[in-house]
């Protein structure tokens, strides 16, 4: 460990030779480049997933109607309208893309990679080559899934849950042919990529922390990412094995999930004694922890961002850490609530109901601690802060509807209705995606050295926030009536025809919300090149990434900092300024007077 005086000596020896274009931007082992690669890939897939959602909304509002402009080009044989098998592909792919190609790569791939070494004072990940591999394993996944769109039957149509026998028997559905195989291969690659990534994150956080950075001095972002990585490392192998088993059922004639003597579309299954419920158990054993994989890192990031813009320490650091651990631990014993009506033993329903009820407790502890963090603060309404506050507001709605459906008697009624759709969109869009926007507005200056435009950012926030609620809140009303999800034409039986106007309103809001993202896209690329320059620490934040240049150089730190205090020393009366960075001896903090956005919000 070098002393503070020697910080500039041997600088040349630390900063390596500039690598060539390919090594620098494409096959890079630098965690920052890999993080940005994940970021751009995931944002492109976000556009794709969003387009699929728009098509779903079109069918809900104007079923069996010709889609203007693109319809005649997409579906010449169907007269320009969505066909039922195309609709099953739409929601299958929307879920798959959003979960496996957008949210998880954004949280762990992009923010995890970019932030972990910077926030713990390390030069890179513990295993940089493994890190590069985990990104490049995503490409076979991307390509397989793209190929699945062009396979016969428009693409996989068994839902993102891929319940057998619909998914295992080729004849069961137009999308259960090669499209389903490609879907499985794609997820296998995602799974392996994520397992490699999570091992890397765990090793990095446990062993590469800068001196003085105890576990209880870690920023909540790092806690969230660490616990998420552990969750992934424990849960993903189960899904990966289940995917291999389903592939074997489809191609090698095994019968893990397919029962005997079924006659599906004139095809008879013979000699297999499988159990479809086994797949459901294996699938949800991963996919319920995956729900927490998709929210815990954002909970951490939001905690950091709230403190920074409320200029106040995090309220209840230890309870926040413990509640995250509790969510992760209990997350492994609640998967059965997806199967309340599946036909598993009702006593198991009781067990899973109780564990599901109780997992609401650590989440509520977190919400109260966030509220107490805001109480008594000095709140700057930057765009990033607004997105973080809306995370809390929306997460409360998603969490509370979760309690309602945890009651298995109520779940029997709302299962597979839009109540569930409303619930997880409030958590995953209102929570995670709003948190991702918050984190992007917060760390964009660090990533690209320039600020995102705040005026455009606030319009982006306002429109997204209003139309997000316009889209997803009325879905509760659909749920109260028992309006079914995953149906190409829910009005077919006639009992939900009066909900058509409400669905049209939802669709208009969804279109408006999608249009509002154009503001963000323009802002993102404009600011990347022409935005106001950000100094090292534009937000006056405490954590270590703000002590290095924006964007940080290769190998991040000229010398490894020594950490002397926790990450939340905002407005400490013993210190002159209202922030007190974690490391004293980092170079160049005085250069960071340039704080355009904090000033803008004070006006």
């Amino acid at each position: 460990m070098k002393s503070a005086d020697s910080q500039f000596e041997n600088r040349e020896s630390v900063v390596p030779q500039q690598p060539g274009f390919w090594r620098h931007y494409v096959f890079s082992t630098d965690h920052k480049v890999i993080g940005l690669q994940f970021l751009f890939s995931a944002l492109i897939w976000l556009l794709m997933g969003g387009a699929l959602a728009m098509a779903i909304r079109w069918q809900m509002a104007w079923p069996w109607t010709r889609i203007p402009i693109i319809g005649s080009w997409l579906f010449q044989s169907e007269g320009g309208q969505i066909s039922p098998e195309f609709y099953t592909m739409l929601f299958t792919m929307h879920g798959t893309v959003m979960i496996f190609f957008v949210i998880i790569p954004l949280l762990l791939g992009a923010f995890g990679n970019y932030l972990i070494p910077l926030m713990i004072g390390a030069r890179d990940m513990a295993f940089p080559k493994l890190n590069m591999l985990s990104y490049w394993l995503m490409w076979p996944a991307f390509i397989s899934l793209l190929m699945a769109f062009f396979a016969p039957g428009y693409g996989p149509g068994a839902g993102w849950t891929a319940y057998p026998p619909l998914s295992t028997v080729w004849e069961a559905s137009p999308g259960s042919g090669w499209a389903q195989t490609l879907w499985l291969i794609s997820l296998l690659f995602v799974g392996v990529s994520s397992i490699l990534g999570s091992i890397n994150y765990i090793a990095t956080i446990l062993f590469l922390r800068a001196p003085g950075l105890d576990m209880l001095r870690l920023p909540m972002t790092i806690w969230g990412l660490l616990i998420t990585a552990i969750l992934q490392a424990l849960a993903l192998p189960v899904l990966t094995v289940a995917l291999v088993m389903q592939l074997m059922d489809r191609h090698l004639g095994t019968g893990f999930f397919t029962p005997d003597n079924l006659i599906i579309n004139n095809f008879e299954t013979v000699g297999t004694v499988g159990q479809p419920l086994l797949w459901q158990h294996l699938f949800w054993f991963y996919s319920h922890p995956a729900v927490y994989i998709m929210i815990l890192p954002i909970m951490g990031m939001v905690s950091d961002i709230l403190c920074c813009f409320a200029r106040k320490p995090l309220f209840g650091y230890r309870p926040m850490v413990y509640s995250m651990c509790a969510i992760a631990g209990m997350g492994f014993v609640v998967w059965g609530h997806h199967m309340f009506v599946s036909g598993m033993h009702p006593f198991m329903g009781t067990v899973f109901m109780i564990s599901t009820m109780m997992i609401a407790l650590p989440s509520s502890v977190k919400v109260f601690n966030w509220l107490a963090t805001l109480w008594g603060g000095r709140i700057h309404f930057t765009t990033s802060m607004l997105f973080s506050i809306s995370f809390i507001s929306m997460f409360i709605i998603g969490g509370l509807s979760g309690i309602v459906m945890a009651a298995n008697s109520i779940d029997e009624f709302v299962h597979d209705t839009y109540y569930i759709v409303a619930h997880f969109h409030y958590v995953l869009f209102g929570g995670t995606i709003m948190g991702v926007f918050s984190a992007l507005y917060f760390w964009f200056p660090k990533m690209f050295g320039r600020m995102l435009n705040e005026t455009a950012g606030k319009w982006h926030f306002l429109l997204t926030f209003v139309f997000l609620n316009g889209t997803f809140f009325p879905m509760h009303i659909l749920g109260w009536r028992g309006f079914p999800r995953r149906m190409a034409d829910p009005y077919f039986s006639g009992q939900f025809l009066d909900l058509l106007p409400l669905n049209r309103m939802i669709t208009w809001c969804a279109f408006a919300m999608a249009a509002a993202q154009l503001i963000f896209i323009v802002n993102f690329f404009y600011s990347m090149f022409w935005g106001q320059r950000a100094g090292k620490n534009p937000w006056h934040a405490n954590t270590l990434e703000w002590t290095v240049d924006s964007p940080p150089p290769h190998d991040n730190f000229q010398h490894i900092p020594t950490i002397t205090r926790g990450p939340y020393e905002y407005s400490n009366p013993e210190h002159d300024e209202d922030y007190w960075p974690q490391a004293d001896d980092s170079a160049g903090l005085e250069e960071s007077i340039n704080t355009p956005a904090t000033k803008a919000s004070e006006r």
Binding site: P84, T88, A158, G159, Y163, L166, A172, S173, L262, I263, I264, Q275, P276, L277, K312, P313, F315, G316, R318, P319, V341, G343, P346, F347, M353, M357, L361, S364, V365, N369, L371, L374, W375, G376, F381, L386, I389, S390, S393, I396, I397, L400, V404, A407, S409, I410, E412, F413, D416, I477, R481, G482, P484, D489, F492, Q495, S571, P573, D578, E602
Partner: protein
């Protein structure tokens, strides 16, 4: 501008509560709360549904108001310095114990309803028990892509005999009588659901789950498949017709006699 943002977040609990109240009391929103009920089975579920929503609404409005008030009162334009507060063990205990107590209450309180609807019945067979003294079901429901077949045991009360009565996509049942139905699937997973009974049971091929219920009105209702079963999932609905027990007997007899057994 800061005031505007706190007002924006104030709108969440206010508008949310107005929508829920409007739905419950049919003001502005017609038929937005629970669908009508056609049997005693729904009583407990509807009670729980309302109770849970009342509790959840209180928390939703309370936290929403607290959030909006904090944003308004502690906006940067209104304050010179933030308070340096880290923790409070009493507050942590308070907001751990009260939610914990509420959640335990909710979990325990709703247990009997689940048991009554799912476990406490002689039609219920624990998985793998294979007991043979279960009562004969009133009807056997066979789901397939994309329709429903309803099989009655006929006059001899025994299934798989020559006098079984088969009805496609029309389930006729006597009202005011307890019905036991055995569910089977020919191909993929389906789900037997009657919205107005709050009833839903997945039919996993290879298993034959049983359900029981009573309908106290005569009329026509809908049966839907509620588990994705392929491209035609949306059109897999059947008609449920409840008639008086006497009419039900007549309907069965008529079919049996026309067939000449």
């Amino acid at each position: 501008m800061d005031r505007f943002w706190s007002l924006l977040f104030l709108a969440v609990p206010v508008l949310g509560l107005l929508i829920v109240l409007g739905a419950v009391f049919n003001v502005g929103l017609q038929n937005a709360w629970l669908p009508e009920s056609i049997g005693p089975r729904t009583e407990g579920i509807d009670y729980l549904f309302n109770l849970f929503h009342i509790i959840v609404a209180v928390v939703f409005v309370g936290t929403g108001l607290l959030l909006a008030y904090s944003l308004f009162r502690f906006r940067a334009t209104n304050r010179q310095v933030a308070s340096y507060v880290h923790k409070s063990i009493w507050l942590e205990l308070l907001w751990t114990i009260i939610p914990a107590g509420t959640l335990v209450f909710l979990a325990m309180h709703q247990l009997p309803y689940w048991q009554a609807n799912k476990e406490d019945h002689r039609a219920f067979e624990p998985a793998g028990a294979g007991s043979s003294d279960l009562e004969t079901p009133t009807v056997r429901v066979v789901a397939y892509q994309f329709g429903w077949r309803f099989i009655y045991p006929g006059l001899d009360g025994v299934f798989d005999t020559r006098d079984d009565v088969i009805s496609e996509n029309l389930l006729v049942l006597p009202s005011h009588e307890e019905i036991v139905a055995e569910l089977r699937s020919l191909d993929v997973i389906h789900s037997f659901a009657i919205n107005k009974l709050r009833l839903k049971q997945d039919i996993v091929p290879g298993l034959s789950p049983r359900i029981w219920f009573m309908i106290t009105q005569n009329g026509d209702w809908e049966i839907n498949c509620m588990e994705l079963c392929g491209w035609g999932h949306f059109r897999m609905s059947a008609r449920l017709r409840t008639v008086s027990p006497k009419d039900f007997e007549d309907w069965l007899m008529e079919i049996v006699q026309t067939r000449g057994y």
